[in-house]
């Protein structure tokens, strides 16, 4: 009887969990996957972490701060034991777990949590996949889960897991710095609430504003005090907050967490690459995922729809939303519009908002509606179509190197030609930026000119990404060829550079539908 009554609910849960998982299941096509695999292989086989870059000839003196050294090792182990498809599944599970964990910040029925997770997975489709950034998503979810649970029950000891979290995180991905930033924001907004309560207590009993001479600021001060006295006393914006004692405890734990981030193979230098990225306007202006949000992107409108719907609901339920959640959401909305890279982080931040708003706006109507036959049918249809689409793509790409190269746009045939004619390819190679990771993995006998780790690097007069683009765009190309002593080039076959190279004494020795190879005569 119990099972019969709850059967539609269980069917809904089964279908929606399946759908979320399939949406997060992506084929292994990330351009950085190649160098992660090679880096992991070297770590496992040589059992050392190289201090200088072993994969490029342009930056051999780069004191490499590989934030992902441990992740690369684990990725390589999974790849060698079970293959790329299992790697896709594991990253889909990491992403799903991150979204699910964050959805449980808000106390609500499981249907609301999963609905928010589904929306989050849909909104972050362009960025998710086998990407180490997913580890940072999970790190952020765990961080926020611990922080909000601590706020709900300030006697909880789980807060002491934060240093451990940051210790692990710093060795898995550079996004730990984002975690520190979120921790800082949490302290700031909770500190603002404490200040608010203090001001309210101070002025609530007073009938007039303080008699102090503040000139034109007098009226402003009156407005602020009236705000504290009348507008917000029972507002849910600040209903739940840390006590001053708990806030101070969190400050100490945060500081200790920060100190533990220095326990990694690179010590304090883990922060140097982060500073380099922040300061590198050139690289950020030219890398796709650092670009500002654009609706002209093929799936940009999905993200916009996600945000538009959320914004409408936030405006309607503004006064009932927790200030800290709202503040985190606002800061990361700004960052996500500034660059695509921050979009999943915004989604992580907004999932609890979804749960809270949707619960308040629809309970108990929506859970009942979700169990209707037409909803279950549509979900079943979606699971069948998207499940087939995602699984078949990930499976096929994982098991067929030709398909992987084709879907990823990698020069597999050109690489085979180079391997078959080793005598022709001596000296320094110039390669496409997008192919660097693939070449590190598939063509280990040749060091690359550039790859996905290097766009922000600048050592002396070597600003490698700018030099790469200068040659590509024929800005004083002779200078770049001579600067790096380039002997041969593997480039897209439709590059303007290809028309120029014969004038510098390079001969085209290979061409296919994707790539061309030029060798200095």
């Amino acid at each position: 009887m119990f099972l019969k009554e709850n059967l539609p609910k269980y069917i809904f849960l089964f279908l929606i969990i399946g759908l979320i998982f399939f949406l997060n299941l992506k084929p292994p096509l990330d351009p950085d996957l190649g160098w992660h695999l090679r880096s992991g292989q070297d770590l496992i086989q040589q059992k050392t972490i190289p201090r200088l870059d072993p994969y490029s000839y342009t930056m051999p003196d780069w004191e490499r701060e590989s934030h992902e050294w441990l992740t690369s090792g684990v990725i390589y182990l999974i790849y060698t034991k079970w293959g790329l498809f299992i790697l896709s599944i594991i990253f889909a599970l990491i992403t799903t777990l991150a979204f699910f964990l964050i959805s449980r910040l808000t106390k609500a029925k499981i249907e609301y949590s999963l609905l928010a997770v589904l929306l989050g997975s849909l909104g972050s489709l362009p960025i998710t996949g086998i990407r180490v950034q997913m580890i940072t998503l999970l790190g952020l979810a765990i961080l926020l889960f611990i922080l909000f649970r601590f706020r709900q029950d300030q006697n909880k000891k789980t807060i002491y897991f934060l240093p451990l979290l940051f210790f692990i995180w710093v060795n898995l991905h550079g996004g730990f710095s984002l975690g520190l930033f979120v921790l800082g924001l949490f302290l700031f907004f909770e500190g603002a609430k404490i200040t608010f309560f203090w001001l309210r207590t101070k002025y609530q009993s007073k009938k007039t504003i303080p008699k102090i001479k503040l000139g034109f600021l007098q009226n402003k001060l009156a407005l602020v005090i009236n705000f504290f006295k009348r507008k917000l006393p029972d507002n849910e914006l600040v209903k739940e907050s840390l006590t001053l004692q708990s806030w101070l405890k969190l400050v100490y734990v945060s500081f200790f967490s920060f100190l533990l981030t220095f326990i990694n193979p690179y010590g304090y230098k883990v922060y140097s690459l982060i500073i380099t990225i922040i300061r590198d306007n050139y690289g950020r202006a030219r890398i796709g995922e650092w670009q500002p949000f654009s609706v002209s992107s093929p799936i940009g409108w999905e993200f916009l729809m996600y945000l538009a719907l959320l914004a409408i609901l936030v405006l309607i339920y503004f006064k009932k939303i927790d200030l800290t959640l709202l503040g985190l959401g606002t800061v990361f909305a700004f960052l996500a519009f500034s660059s695509w890279r921050n979009m999943p982080v915004l989604i992580i931040m907004t999932i609890p908002l979804w749960v809270y708003i949707v619960k308040n706006a629809t309970d108990p109507v929506l859970p009942a509606l979700l169990k209707k036959k037409f909803v279950l049918f549509l979900l079943l249809l979606a699971v069948a179509i998207i499940g087939y689409q995602q699984t078949s793509t990930a499976w096929a790409v994982s098991h067929n190197p030709d398909l992987l190269a084709k879907a990823g746009g990698y020069p597999k045939e050109a690489v085979e030609y180079i391997k078959a004619n080793p005598e022709k390819f001596q000296g320094n190679m110039y390669n496409e930026y997008n192919w660097g990771g693939y070449l590190i993995w598939q063509l280990p006998e040749h060091k690359v000119f550039i790859d996905g780790r290097m766009p922000h690097l600048k050592i002396g007069d070597r600003h490698i990404f700018k030099d790469f683009n200068d040659l590509q765009e024929l800005r004083d190309p002779k200078r770049i060829i001579e600067k790096y002593n380039i002997d041969w080039l593997l480039i897209y076959n439709n590059r303007l550079l290809g028309s120029y190279l014969p004038s510098e004494g390079f001969k085209k020795v290979y061409e296919d539908d994707l790539s061309a190879i030029f060798i200095k005569e």
Binding site: V365, T393, Y500
Partner: protein
């Protein structure tokens, strides 16, 4: 709360619930076939920017000298003059490329493959600031492989640059079919 208010509240919740479900399913079914979009995340952006004050002019018509078929291979020549690039964007200049491509010469159902038969020697450049002619090339047939007729590297090419006496040399085979062949040639100046 009165019964009517309760009813209104329920109706409001029903409307919001239906809206959420509607948006959710629209988003779900719009994901079909976009899963592979993930590999675009690190794409290096192309940089063919046509700036407002970077402009060019080219003659509307270019005619080859007539050729009478005589049973052996011949060449038909013509000179291109009056192609100008104007870069008034100020500063030291960011450089530019003047590129060209054309479609095959066509006369009815007959055509001449210009990629194999039309050789171009770019000619002489007169420039306010160091623009240069490109190398000789066979005429490309699409924009992706467009050839450089004239270019200016970074910090060069500001003001007026023009190229004259570009020699277009067409190989006319003995087996070509007589007719009036035409093609469209496209010039692009980009920075």
């Amino acid at each position: 709360m009165s019964y009517i208010n309760q009813e209104i509240e329920i109706i409001k919740k029903q409307i919001v619930s239906v809206l959420i479900l509607f948006f959710m399913f629209v988003m779900i079914f719009s994901t079909v076939n976009v899963g592979l979009a993930v590999n675009t995340a690190n794409t290096n952006l192309a940089q063919n920017i046509l700036a407002g004050s970077l402009d060019m002019t080219a003659p509307a018509q270019l005619n080859f000298t007539d050729v009478s078929l005589n049973g052996s291979q011949q060449y038909s020549n013509t000179n291109l003059n009056g192609v100008n690039v104007v870069d008034y964007r100020g500063g030291a200049g960011t450089g530019w490329n003047l590129t060209v491509y054309a479609n095959n010469l066509v006369a009815g159902s007959n055509n001449i493959n210009i990629l194999a038969r039309l050789n171009v020697a770019p000619g002489q450049v007169t420039s306010d600031k160091n623009a240069a002619a490109g190398s000789n090339f066979m005429m490309p047939i699409n924009s992706a492989t467009a050839a450089v007729l004239m270019n200016a590297s970074s910090s060069n090419g500001t003001g007026v640059s023009n190229i004259t006496n570009s020699l277009f040399k067409l190989n006319v085979a003995a087996s070509d079919v007589a007719g009036t062949y035409t093609a469209v040639m496209t010039f692009t100046v980009s920075s």
